[in-house]
C-alpha cells in the first residue's frame, strides 16, 4: 500500500515541478512580461494593501485613490503602459512579506507601493532593503522607515505617526493652556508614535503630564470600565483617545452614552475622527479636536478638483487615505514621465520622484526632504462640526505650514532618542530629556484657509 502511495506522492511532486516550470516559462514566452518589458513598453507597479481584515476600509480607500490617479493619465506614463498588480496582505505582516516576495521575484515589479499600517511598512521595508526597487509607502506611517531604518530606495510623500501630533500638543499647551491630559491608547506602534509626537509637543509647550493608559487593539467592544476609570477630579484638562477604526467608534459611542460629553473635552489622534468612521459616531461630540494633513472643508482649487473627480467616480467624499494614495501614485507617474519611461535605473527614478513638483497636491503643497525622502507639509487642526444636514465633518480651524517629520527638533537629536513605545516618552514632562524641551518653536499657527 505504502509503495503505491509513494508513487502517488512522487507524481505529485513531479506535477508541482511541472507547474513550477510553467510558472517560470511564461515570462519568457509571453512578450509582455519580465525583462523584455522595457522594449514592449510596460511598467509594473506592485500594490500591497489590506483589502480584507480589520483595516480593509483603508485598503479600499487607497486603491480608489491610486486608481483615480492612474485613470487621469489613462494608465500610461512616459510612453509606457502602467500595470498595477494588487495583492492583499490581510494586515498580516507575514503575508505582507510573502506578497512582497511574490511581486519582486515572480512579477518583477519596477516599483512597490501601497501599505496601510506602520508595521507592514517596516516589515516590507526590511525585506526590500537590498532589492534595489523603489518602495513608496502610502498610508504606512512608521517614522523609522524614513528615519532610523531609512534606505535610499524609500520615498514617502505622505506622513509619519508623530508629524501631525507634535504641533497639536504644542498648541494645546500654549494656546488652550492645557496642563494635564489623560490619554487612552491602542497598544501598538502607530498610536505609540502618535502619542510620542503629542507628548513631545505638549511638554515643549509647557504641559505637565500626559497620563497614558494602553489597551490591546481589537480585544474589547466594552469601554465602559475604561471610561469610568477616568479620574474627573484630578484636574485633567482633556481626554485624548489615541485609537482608530472600530475601536474608536465603540469608544466614542460609549463616551456619549455614559454622559461624558460636556464633563471633559475629548481630543482625537489623526485617525480617530476620520471618515467613514465619523459617520457612525454620535452627533454630540461636535467640538472635538484632532490634527491631520487633510481637512474635509479644504477649499483650495487643488482639493476641490480632486474631491469633485473622486465624488464623480465613487459617489462619496475622499478620505485622507485616498488622498495619500492619489498623490503618491501621481508622484510615481510624474517621475516615470520625467525619466521618459526608462525605469531601468532605479536610483535615477527615485531621484526623479524627489524632484517631482508636488506643490499642486490636493491637501496642500508638499516638499520632499532630500536626505530622508519624507514629506514636509501642512498640518491642519480640525474640529468635529455638524453641517446643515446634521452630518459630521472635520472643519479646519488652523493651518501649520511646512511641518517636517522631525518637527522643530534637530534630526540628529531626534533620532538619538529611543523609538516611541508604550514606555517612552515618559508620562511626566519633568522626566523628559532636557534637550528635547529646549527646541524653539518654529511654526506659525495661521487661521485655516490662509
Amino acid at each position: 500500500m505504502s509503495r503505491k502511495l509513494f508513487s502517488i506522492f512522487s507524481t505529485l511532486i513531479v506535477v508541482s515541478m511541472l507547474l513550477a516550470a510553467c510558472a517560470t516559462a511564461t515570462p519568457t514566452t509571453a512578450p509582455a512580461e519580465s525583462k523584455p518589458a522595457e522594449s514592449t513598453g510596460e511598467i509594473k507597479i506592485g500594490f500591497i494593501s489590506a483589502f480584507t481584515g480589520v483595516f480593509s476600509s483603508f485598503g479600499k480607500m487607497q486603491k480608489e485613490g491610486a486608481e483615480l490617479a492612474l485613470e487621469e493619465v489613462g494608465y500610461t506614463a512616459g510612453g509606457k503602459k502602467i500595470t498595477v498588480i494588487y495583492e492583499d496582505d490581510q494586515l498580516d505582516n507575514e503575508q505582507a512579506v510573502t506578497k512582497a516576495k511574490k511581486l519582486v521575484e515572480q512579477d518583477k515589479v519596477d516599483i512597490l507601493t501601497g501599505l496601510v499600517s506602520g508595521d507592514e511598512g517596516l516589515t516590507v521595508g526590511d525585506y526590500m532593503k537590498d532589492k534595489g526597487i523603489p518602495l513608496i509607502p502610502m498610508y504606512s506611517a512608521s517614522e523609522d522607515m524614513t528615519m532610523r531604518s531609512f534606505f535610499p530606495m524609500t520615498v514617502r510623500a505622505t506622513w509619519t505617526g508623530a508629524q501631525s501630533m507634535d504641533v497639536f500638543g504644542y498648541w494645546l499647551a500654549t494656546e488652550k493652556g492645557y496642563k494635564k491630559i489623560y490619554m487612552i491608547g491602542e497598544d501598538y506602534s502607530y498610536p505609540w508614535n502618535q502619542a510620542g509626537g503629542f507628548k513631545r509637543g505638549f511638554c515643549r509647550g509647557g504641559g505637565v503630564e500626559v497620563k497614558s493608559v494602553w489597551f490591546p487593539p481589537g480585544t474589547t467592544s466594552d469601554f465602559s470600565s475604561m471610561i469610568a476609570a477616568i479620574p474627573l477630579d484630578q484636574g485633567y484638562d482633556a481626554v485624548l483617545y489615541n485609537g482608530a477604526g472600530g475601536d474608536a467608534v465603540n469608544f466614542i459611542k460609549q463616551w456619549s452614552e455614559l454622559g461624558m460629553v460636556g464633563k471633559i473635552p475629548l481630543l482625537g489622534q489623526s485617525n480617530t475622527f476620520e471618515k467613514p468612521d465619523l459617520d457612525s459616531m454620535p452627533k454630540d461630540i461636535v467640538g472635538s479636536l484632532s490634527p491631520h494633513h487633510t481637512a474635509d472643508d479644504l477649499n483650495t482649487p487643488n482639493w476641490n478638483a480632486f474631491k469633485d473627480a473622486f465624488v464623480k467616480k465613487y459617489g462619496y467624499s475622499p478620505s485622507a487615505a485616498s488622498e495619500f494614495a492619489y498623490m503618491s501614485m501621481r508622484m510615481i507617474l510624474r517621475a516615470i514621465e520625467a525619466v521618459k519611461g526608462d525605469v531601468s535605473d532605479k536610483a535615477k527614478l527615485v531621484d526623479a520622484m524627489l524632484k517631482v513638483d508636488l506643490s499642486d497636491t490636493p491637501r496642500g503643497p508638499v516638499a520632499l526632504d532630500p536626505t530622508y525622502h519624507s514629506a514636509i507639509e501642512n498640518v491642519y487642526i480640525r474640529e468635529v462640526t455638524a453641517d446643515d444636514k446634521g452630518a459630521l465633518y472635520n472643519k479646519g480651524i488652523l493651518t501649520v505650514k511646512n511641518v517636517s517629520q522631525f518637527g522643530p527638533y534637530d534630526p540628529a537629536l531626534y533620532m538619538s532618542q529611543p523609538i516611541d513605545g508604550n514606555t517612552y516618552p515618559p508620562d511626566l514632562c519633568a522626566d523628559f530629556p532636557a534637550e528635547m524641551l529646549q527646541a524653539a518653536n518654529i511654526y506659525e499657527y495661521l487661521p485655516f484657509g490662509k
Binding site: R3, L5, F51, E94, T423
Partner: protein
C-alpha cells in the same frame, strides 16, 4: 524483482534530481514557494504525525512553530547570540514546554485533548499579541536573517533551499523510521485502544507524551526555517487561523497516511500561489476544494487515490490510473 522495482527507482532518481537542481532551472519565486512547502511541511508533518499515528488532534503545534522563531528573534537578533545557540536553545525550549504541556494534555483524549491544546495555543498567541515589552506585541520581531555557515551564505535563496531540503529529507527519513519502529507500532496501538495497550503493560501515558514531544520538535524545526525565510516573527504566525490552515493541509492530503501531510502541503501552498494570482477569494476556493474532498473521501487525497486503486470508487479512473491492478482482478 529488480525489473519490477526499476520504474520506481527511476522515478525516485528523477524526482531527487529535479528537486536538487530546482534552483538551476526554476524562477526565484518557485524556489521561495518550495521553501514555504518545506517549512509548512514540517508543521504539517508535526500535526499529521500526531493525528495519523497517535490519534491526537493538537492545536498547540503552531505555538511551537512560533516558539523557535521568537527565541531566534530574541536571543539571536536582539541579544546577538551566534548560530547555532539560539536555534538549539529554541528547540530545547520547545521540548521543555512540550513536556510540561504534554504531561497535562495527554491525560485527555479526543475532543477534550483538542480543547486543552486549543487553550494552550491561544494562551501563547494572546501572550505574544499583548506582550509589548519583550515580544513587541502585534509588530513582532523583524530583521531575522539566516546565518553564514562554512562560507555558505544562507541568505541566498538557492542555498537556503538546499539547506532546508536536506533538513526536510533527513526529518522525513527519521520520522519514517520512528513510524515504522516498535515505538511507532505501540503508538498506533494507543491510538486504536489505549485501554488494551495499558492492559498489555505499555506505559500509554508516556508513549503519548513522547509522541507529543516528537511532534513539537518537528514544529520547532519548521519554525526556524520559517523565521529565517520571512525574516519576521509575529503573533499572526501562531494565530488560530494558521493552525486551522495547516490542519486543513493535513486532512486534505490524508491525515492517516504518512505522506498525507506532505501531499496536502504541496497542494495547498501551490493552490495559494496560483489562486491568489487570479482572485482574492483564496480562502473561498480552498474551502470549496476542502469540502468536496472531504465529501468524496474523508481520508483526503491519498485516501481517494487508495479507494480508486482498490476499486471502491470511480472504476473508470481506476482503469486509467492503475491498469495493472484493474486487469488483475
Amino acid at each position: 524483482m529488480q525489473n519490477k522495482n526499476l520504474p520506481r527507482i527511476l522515478l525516485l532518481v528523477a524526482i531527487a534530481v529535479l528537486l536538487v537542481l530546482l534552483p538551476l532551472y526554476a524562477g526565484q519565486y518557485t524556489i521561495t514557494t518550495f521553501i514555504r512547502i518545506l517549512y509548512f511541511g514540517f508543521l504539517a508533518l508535526s500535526i499529521g504525525f500526531l493525528i495519523g499515528q497517535g490519534g491526537m488532534v493538537s492545536f498547540t503545534q503552531t505555538a511551537f512553530f512560533g516558539f523557535t522563531g521568537y527565541v531566534i528573534g530574541l536571543l539571536g537578533l536582539e541579544r546577538g547570540l551566534a548560530f547555532p545557540l539560539p536555534e538549539l536553545l529554541g528547540l530545547a525550549g520547545v521540548l521543555l514546554t512540550a513536556l510540561l504541556l504534554g504531561m497535562v494534555a495527554v491525560r485527555a483524549y479526543k475532543i477534550v485533548f483538542l480543547m486543552i491544546t486549543l487553550a494552550f495555543g491561544q494562551i501563547f498567541w494572546a501572550f505574544a499579541q499583548q506582550n509589548t515589552s519583550l515580544l513587541h506585541g502585534w509588530a513582532g520581531i523583524r530583521g531575522i536573517r539566516p546565518p553564514v555557515l562554512l562560507g555558505i551564505d544562507f541568505y541566498n535563496t538557492a542555498n537556503f533551499y538546499w539547506g532546508a531540503l536536506v533538513l526536510f529529507v533527513l526529518g522525513l527519513y527519521l520520522l519514517w523510521r520512528i513510524t515504522k519502529s516498535p515505538f511507532g507500532l505501540v503508538l498506533n496501538g494507543t491510538r486504536e485502544s489505549p485501554r488494551r495497550m495499558a492492559a498489555l503493560g505499555y506505559p500509554v501515558y508516556w508513549i503519548r507524551v513522547v509522541a507529543f514531544l516528537i511532534s513539537a520538535f518537528y514544529a520547532g524545526l519548521g519554525g526556524i526555517l520559517a523565521a529565517y525565510n520571512t525574516g519576521i516573527i509575529t503573533p499572526t504566525t501562531i494565530q488560530l487561523s494558521r493552525t486551522i490552515w495547516v490542519l486543513l493541509m493535513v486532512i486534505l492530503g490524508g491525515a492517516s497516511y504518512f505522506w498525507g501531510p506532505v501531499v496536502g502541503t504541496i497542494v495547498v501552498v501551490w493552490l495559494d500561489v496560483l489562486v491568489s494570482g487570479i482572485t482574492g477569494r483564496f480562502n473561498t476556493i480552498i474551502g470549496i476544494i476542502f469540502v468536496i474532498t472531504v465529501l468524496f473521501s474523508p481520508n483526503g487525497l491519498l485516501g481517494l487515490l487508495d479507494d480508486i486503486r482498490r476499486g471502491e470508487k470511480f472504476p473508470k479512473i481506476r482503469k486509467f490510473l492503475f491498469p495493472k491492478a484493474a486487469s488483475g482482478e
